[in-house]
Structures are given as structure tokens and as C-alpha cells.
Symmetry: C2
Subunit: 397 residues, 2 copies
């Protein structure tokens, strides 16, 4: 009795597969600084926590498949304030996290064996969704040296085949921290229109940009290409509610929205408590984002400064999100990341980092790179950089 091909092909999470070693280290009394996962320590807005503290309902019943009305209403207000004035609840579908939205989108725009272009390195779980959707992700390589910005149009275009159904971007980028310029988005829309491709834009880090950079939403192009644009959003990072499992699909393609509602009905609803809590997003004070943004900028700066001082380490200052890709002076960063948990500690402390290989599809790329998430406080980030420095000095591969 064999399991299915999908079960075999599905990758173990490169971010989470070191978890057993981390558990073992913790059992041995080692404190771990977690640079490996984008789970922010920022506090959830008080207006949201107040919803559960003042919970009145006696039964936790199903929510609406489309999305709980209170949340949909707040989301319409949010997107309208961003400038998308014509958006209504009919352009929105609430999902259980950005993850569910990404999976449904792939399943809706592409058949088994179809292709979707994606810029490499990319969020590792895109691989899992593509295996579940039986879609081939076709990587288009970008480079650390120019901050992972888009390659020349011809380098993108030559990857487009008859089977290509869409282009998937993450903007601001996980794991790269890259924020695409208007010129880059113009190019992508031009290519997508020319080749009749869907543009799938994962914008879950929209609020996290620094030094005056602004993330331009793909929704800005819906008047030019209403049927082709699908935006995948998530409330997880924006409001520090990763555990609330809430995302949103946004599109002006009615056929697409009708289809995803059927996906939504098949799993009945997203979480009821989570949705009522998140519906308070319209009451989150403006200075919440300002403070969060400042905090992340300072973290980025302090981390970048300290990483830069480590001999042999190379990275670029990220423009957005809260990740950066770092080239390490090691042969195999996965072995090093494991060793940090199994063999290294300095005064009973170590760091956990995500090997970047899982963010590349092309074999042999990213072997000496790791992804670092700066979602812990500045003092811890400084100590983490110090630990990395000491570890790299001690490590032999």
C-alpha cells in the first residue's frame, strides 16, 4: 500500500524541518534566538484583543463561507482607503491565511502540468502549493548583487511557454526584502497582457517598507487588466495575528471570484473568533503601523550593521518585509544551521536560521545562503549576530 505521488513530492518545510533539533537543544537548556521564522513578537492591536476579552456569544458557530460580514466590511474600508475606491465585498474572499489563498489561486488559474513563472529565490511554501495543485513553478533567477530586482524582460519572456498560465510575485519580497519599482510592475503587466497570463501578486508585507520606499499594489493596475490580476493578501503580519489564520483574495475577475467561493464553501468557513477579532482592523490606530514600521526599520538597521561586520558575510539592505538573504562563508548552510542547534552554543545560547536552498528551485543555488527574519527585538538581534560571528569562527565544513 503506497501513498500518493503528491504525498511523496510534497517538500518538508525548509523553515520548519530543523524544529526537532531545536526541541532537543531546548531540552538541553540551550536558549535559541529564532531568526528562522517570520512570527513577529509585535503586540496584536489592543482593539483586536478586546474582542475576545469581551466575548459575548455562547456558541462558536460557523462563519459565512465568503467571509464574516463584519470582516468583509472592514476590509472594503481598508482597501478603499488605500485608493481602491471601486472595490466592494464582491472583489474579496476571506481565506484561512495567505496560504489557503495561494493554493486556491494556483488551483483556479492552472491545470495539472501548467506552468507559473516565479522569481527565484521565493517563499518556499510556494513549492508545496504547486505540488498540491500539480502545477509546475518555473523559476526566473534574480541575484543578490542587485537586491533581487527583476532581470531583463527578455530573460523573463524566454521562460514563457504555451503552458504558462501566470506570473507569481511576492512584493515586498519574502525571503528577499525586495520592493519592486513602478517600472518593474509596468513591465510585468505589459508581459502578462501580451501573453494572456494571470498576475498573482502576494502582498502580505505591504505595510513593511523603509527609507521612503512605498510598495505599489498590483491592484493599481486593475483598470488596465481587470481580468488578469489576482492579489493575495494576509492579515497575519500586518496586525501580528499570524495565529489567526486570515487572508484575503482580491480580484476584479468575477469568474475567478465565483470559483474561489466554491473552494471556500468546500471547507465551510474560516475561523469565527479570528474573523470577529480581525474585523476591528478599521479601529486600529494609525500610529500602530508607524510604531511597528519604525521598530522594524531599526531592527533591520541594527542587524545589517552587525552582520556586515562578520568576515565573509554578504548581504544587501532590504527595502521591505522583515527578511534578508545572507551569503555565509560556509560550503553548505543547511549543515551549518543544523550544527548551530546540535553542536554549538555560547553561554548556553545559539541561533536558528533558515537555509536558503529551500527558497530556490534550481539545483545547487542558495547552498551557502540563509534567510534571516528580523522579528525579534534589537538586543536579541545584536546578540544573534554576535553568536553567528562566533559560530562561523568555530565552524569547520
Amino acid at each position: 500500500m503506497k501513498l500518493s505521488d503528491v504525498a511523496g513530492l510534497l517538500p518538508a518545510s525548509p523553515i520548519r524541518k530543523l524544529v526537532p533539533y531545536a526541541h532537543a537543544a531546548k531540552k538541553n537548556g540551550i536558549h535559541i534566538y529564532h531568526l528562522n521564522i517570520g512570527d513577529p513578537d509585535i503586540e496584536t492591536p489592543e482593539v483586536m484583543l478586546d474582542v475576545i476579552l469581551h466575548w459575548k456569544k455562547k456558541t462558536i458557530s460557523y462563519a459565512d463561507s465568503h467571509g464574516q460580514h463584519e470582516l468583509l466590511k472592514s476590509l472594503v474600508g481598508y482597501y478603499q482607503r488605500l485608493g481602491h475606491e471601486h472595490l466592494t465585498i464582491h472583489n474579496l474572499q476571506v481565506t484561512a491565511g495567505g496560504s489557503e489563498g495561494l493554493l486556491w489561486t494556483m488551483l483556479t488559474v492552472a491545470n495539472s502540468g501548467d506552468e507559473i513563472l516565479v522569481f527565484e529565490p521565493y517563499y518556499a511554501n510556494y513549492n508545496s502549493f504547486s505540488v498540491l495543485a500539480r502545477v509546475n513553478l518555473v523559476p526566473v533567477l534574480t541575484h543578490i548583487e542587485n537586491g533581487f530586482h527583476l532581470p531583463k524582460p527578455e530573460d523573463i519572456e524566454k521562460k514563457i511557454t504555451k503552458k504558462t498560465k501566470g506570473i507569481l510575485i511576492c512584493n515586498p519580497g519574502n525571503p528577499t526584502g525586495t520592493v519592486y519599482t513602478k517600472k518593474e510592475l509596468d513591465l510585468l503587466v505589459r508581459l502578462a497582457k501580451k501573453h494572456h497570463l494571470y498576475l498573482l501578486s502576494d502582498e502580505v508585507y505591504r505595510e513593511f517598507t523603509y527609507d521612503g520606499t512605498k510598495a505599489i499594489s498590483m491592484l493599481e493596475y486593475t483598470h488596465q487588466y481587470p481580468e488578469g490580476i489576482i492579489m493575495i493578501d494576509s492579515l497575519s503580519k500586518r496586525y501580528s495575528i499570524c495565529g489567526a489564520r486570515l487572508g484575503v483574495l482580491v480580484s476584479y475577475n468575477k469568474e475567478f471570484m465565483d470559483a474561489v467561493l466554491k473552494f471556500a464553501q468546500s471547507r465551510l468557513s474560516a475561523g469565527f473568533i479570528d474573523q470577529l477579532m480581525a474585523a476591528k482592523l478599521s479601529d486600529v490606530p494609525r500610529d500602530y503601523f508607524r510604531n511597528v514600521n519604525n521598530e522594524y526599520r531599526e531592527r533591520r538597521d541594527v542587524l545589517y550593521e552587525h552582520l556586515h561586520k562578520i568576515p565573509g558575510v554578504y548581504c544587501r539592505k532590504p527595502e521591505g518585509a522583515f527578511y534578508l538573504i545572507v551569503k555565509l562563508p560556509v560550503k553548505n548552510a543547511e549543515n551549518f544551521a543544523k550544527w548551530l542547534l546540535t553542536d554549538f552554543h555560547d553561554r548556553k545560547e545559539t541561533v536558528m536560521i533558515a537555509p536558503a536552498q529551500g527558497f530556490y528551485k534550481s539545483q545547487g543555488l542558495g547552498v551557502d545562503e540563509v534567510r534571516i527574519a528580523y522579528v525579534i527585538n534589537k538586543k536579541s538581534l545584536i546578540r544573534s549576530a554576535e553568536l553567528l560571528k562566533k559560530a562561523l569562527k568555530a565552524y569547520k565544513d
Copy 2:
């Protein structure tokens, strides 16, 4: 730009597709008795609600992909108390509702084009999961006249082909209310072992059985067939927390459990608040179930009694769950269900019922049947039966 085949094939929920008509009726001031969906009005146990009312954590962070430790521990206790003493957290995977567990199970045991046998009528969303998993559900017909119990072994066996990978049952049954006997389960295990098939047992209604009937879990057979048995469970109905989106996959097949953990990692985690709330299941007082059970038995009895008095209506007394299939004296029950919302009311009241056709795969079956969920109070059930009686008298098809 076409959407995918999956998007086209995915059925709209037969339970929820009448929702727009219900919304319109409500706008016109009509009160609707909801017999159409299994969303209980029973109160969630106080110990669970207390978790959110006394919430202390300032950040709603990701839960563990495998399942939050507190919840896994409580679940181990629950299953051990049911007699599965050797069960550990390694036999469990927390899912976002039974829905997610069912989808993952199909994707894990069967390849695209493989077959899974299922007894008809069955829970309509199995169709959606099978479309997403690209698996063919092969219906084996059961009959209202013998309470939808299993057909003869040869009728099951003749549906088994080289492509058959499993047999899926729902016990106690949605939409039938059928509880399988030990003899029936013996038969299924014998057939599954003989033909090397997985037995997928959806047992989300375990606690709801009446008149001394006891639901026998497929887990009772794991010593005979450890690699073949997969139990799909949900906390939704048991604790009246449908909106908490929590289920469990249970198996002694290590390879299967390893595979589903990869599915779990791909979507990061189930809800954090929901899991901490549900972890209190070990503190739910015993009389909670006794009271809930009594309440449902009384509802079933009162509904059955009143339905029975309506001329031309045929149904059997269900043994478990909180549904029953009812044969109506109409040509097309879907048209009738729609008409109840668009054209009928009695003193500004009407009922909403689920057409049973969506619970059958074979064309032309169940056309004059509906599924009724008895999840509203007795007074409302009596009034609902009265409304049905009046409506059937007024209806012409």
C-alpha cells in the same frame, strides 16, 4: 483566459447555494427556521469560552504545525479514555476542521484518477474534496428503506477495481443518521484487508447516538490493520465549536502521519486561539455530553413524530448524528426548497432545507429527498414541521 478544470468541476455547496434566496427572504422580513445546516445552537462548554475571556497573551502567533502541544495532550487523553490506550501524539495531526483532514487524506492515499468507494448518499463536500484531489468517488448505493445500512458484501466488492485505493465511510452518518453495527465494520475491515485498501472513517458525530446505540470507532480495528486505518475526526459538533475550525487525523500508519505533517507545514498552522480554547476539552464535565445527547434525542423524537404526520412524507428514525433524509411528495425537492424561500411564508415564517440530490453522485437519485438537520430547539422544530406541512399542501410542481 480560461480558469482551470478543477475550478469548473468544483460543485457549489448544495447546502449553501440557497443562501442568496435566504438573504433576500430575510430582507423582506421573513423569519427562517434553518434545517439546512448542521450548525448547532448548543452552547460551547464554559471551560472553553473561559479561555478567551481570560486571554493573557499579547501576540496571536503561529501555532505548531503538528498541533499546539496543549491540544495534542488533551486529545491523547480523550482517545485513551475511549479505550485507545496505546495512542500518542504521534498518531495525531490537528487539522483546520474535518474538511482539511478529509482533503489531505484523499490527496495522501490516492493518485489523480484513482478511486475511493463511498456509500451513497454521503456528505456532499466529499465531492469537492475529491475534485480538488482529482480522485474519483465511486458510489455504492444504500437505501432509505433499511435505514441506509450497508448493502451485501458482493455489491460492495463488485465496485472494487485496480484503481480503488480506499473505502470512505461516515459513522454515525451525515446525511443519513445511520450508525454501523459491529458486523458491518467487521465486513468493511475484511474487504479492505483482502483488497489492500485504506479505510477512511469520518467519525465527527461519534458522541451523537441514541436509544443505547453506540458508535464503534474504526480505531478499534487498528490492531488488526494498523497501516490501513485512517480516522477523520472533528471537534466542531462535539463541543459546539464549528467556527473554531479544528479537526484531527488519527492513524497508526507512520508513513501516512509523516506525509500529513508536510501538508500541515505547508499551511503553517491551525488557529492559535481556537486550539488553546479546544485544549480545555479534557475539563469538559461529563454531564455536558449527557445533556447534549438528551437534547438531540428529544429533538429527533419530536421532529420524527411531526414529520411522520405529514401526508406523503417518508423517513426513518435516525440512530445517530443529527440529520435525517426525508422523502417528500414533490417531483423536485430543490425547486421546492427554493420555493420555500422565494414564494412561501406562513405568518412571515418559512423553513430552509437542504436538497438531498447533492448527497448522491448517481444521476437522478435523491431528487425527491431533502436532508434535515435537527440542530434547533424543539419548539422551532415543531413549528418547522408545521410550516413544511402547510407548504407541501400549497406547493404545486
